[in-house]
């Protein structure tokens, strides 16, 4: 063990409880984490982390290989659980790294007491501690970010599947109510599920309702045109409904050519047209 490590180890062993107490006090006064969050959970986390830190220091592992060295495995495990629980609770990255960074002050104070008379050793030890705590904070933040990204990705996938149902409106009439912005991947998904349903049900008319599409630009129009062409190639007809007045204006101003595509203002109009084309007559018997 190096001189720095010996000093740190002594502090972590002999003054473990004091360090822990100061650390928790520091967390409360730093004010960034709310008082409620500082319950027994934080205390256990802090205790675990101190233990893991001591283990790493005893094994004489350097801070530069914190991310992959074996002696730090336990510390990494503790930090990972910590970031995950914080991410799930909805804390921000700042609070999470602050938790680790608050450990600096109590450790620096103890080192000052112990090595105050030997400035050279003090600077060396402080540098080691500082580097180590920084590494731990960095690791915590990157794990935190990764778990947040996992949540976002999962939600995106769920949204993609949720937002593209193909519904059967009538015998031989299918409809897709589009909600949200149309990008390439969504168009692809809609196209695939709609075409498959056309084959499965033998429907001759498909209605694409764009009431829930906020804007239609040239790219969105191109995606729509692609879908319509694919439906026509399959041997079915396509009606686009739910064109709002502003969208109609945008389409004309952008010079998008929608000739050859039947468009209707509302889904009701589109259904009426679909029924008429399939030869149905809707009547209301007088009561």
């Amino acid at each position: 063990m190096t001189q720095d490590h010996i000093a740190i180890d002594e502090i972590l062993t002999a003054q473990h409880d004091d360090v822990l107490k100061d650390w928790l006090a520091e967390l409360t006064t730093s004010g960034r984490s709310s008082g409620a969050a500082l319950g027994t959970a934080s205390r256990t986390e802090a205790q675990d982390l101190l233990g893991a830190l001591r283990e790493g220091v005893r094994a004489n592992a350097g801070a530069d290989r914190f991310e992959d060295a074996a002696p730090w495995e336990r510390a990494r495990g503790v930090l990972e659980t910590l970031s995950r629980t914080r991410a799930a609770k909805g804390s921000n990255a700042g609070e999470t790294s602050q938790f680790v960074l608050s450990l600096k002050k109590p450790l620096f104070a103890r080192l000052q007491q112990r090595l105050g008379k030997e400035p050279d050793r003090l600077v060396g030890a402080i540098w080691s501690v500082s580097e180590l705590v920084d590494r731990m904070a960095q690791f915590t933040v990157s794990t935190f970010q990764r778990s947040r990204e996992e949540v976002i990705n999962r939600q995106q996938e769920e949204l993609l599947e949720l937002s593209t149902p193909v519904v059967k409106l009538w015998d031989g009439v299918l409809a897709v109510p589009m909600i949200g912005t149309l990008d390439s991947s969504r168009t692809q998904l809609v196209m695939e599920s709609l075409l498959q349903r056309i084959v499965d049900t033998g429907s001759e008319i498909a209605i694409i309702d764009i009431t829930g599409v906020p804007t239609v630009d040239t790219l969105v129009a191109q995606h729509l045109l692609k879908t319509v062409t694919a439906i026509r190639l399959m041997g079915a007809d396509c009606i686009i409904s739910g064109v709002r007045p502003q969208i109609a204006q945008t389409i004309v101003h952008l010079g998008i050519d929608l000739t050859g595509i039947t468009t209707k203002a509302s889904l009701a109009d589109a259904l009426a047209l679909a029924l008429k084309r399939s030869g149905y007559v809707v009547t209301r018997p007088k009561s």
Partner: protein, 126 residues
């Protein structure tokens, strides 16, 4: 070389593509079909591609070509049973097959050809 059989049903010709088309086979089909339309005086051609799973731009262009040739020889072409994946591929290749009639299955394709024949005779007697 493989040749795609062309069946005659009354005034209609029926082509069922059961194998993955090679370029040479496709060209031969185009030749055979135009000869057959001329020989039989058929007014309708039905091409069933429900078993076709792989298309490239050449095959897409050939489908459009056959339709154009048939039109010049006064026959209506209907392409039926296109698979979703094939339709998406053709669209991504930028081939929208303008002018080619399509139907979901053989039954509806035949109905379409009958309707077209009725319209033609009405025009002729007109």
């Amino acid at each position: 070389m493989q040749r795609i059989p062309i069946l005659q049903m009354g005034k209609c010709l029926l082509v069922t593509i059961q194998v993955d088309l090679q370029d040479q086979t496709a060209l031969a089909l185009q030749d055979d079909l135009s000869a057959k339309i001329e020989a039989t005086g058929a007014h309708g051609v039905l091409i069933d591609i429900s078993a076709l799973e792989i298309v490239d731009s050449f095959i897409g262009r050939m489908l459009a070509g056959i339709s154009g040739i048939a039109r010049v020889l006064d026959a209506t072409t209907v392409v039926v049973g296109m698979q979703p994946a094939v339709a998406i591929t053709l669209v991504e290749l930028g081939l929208s097959l303008e002018g080619v009639r399509t139907a979901l299955n053989v039954e509806r394709g035949m109905q379409m050809l009958r309707d077209a024949a009725v319209e033609d005779s009405r025009d002729a007697t007109g």
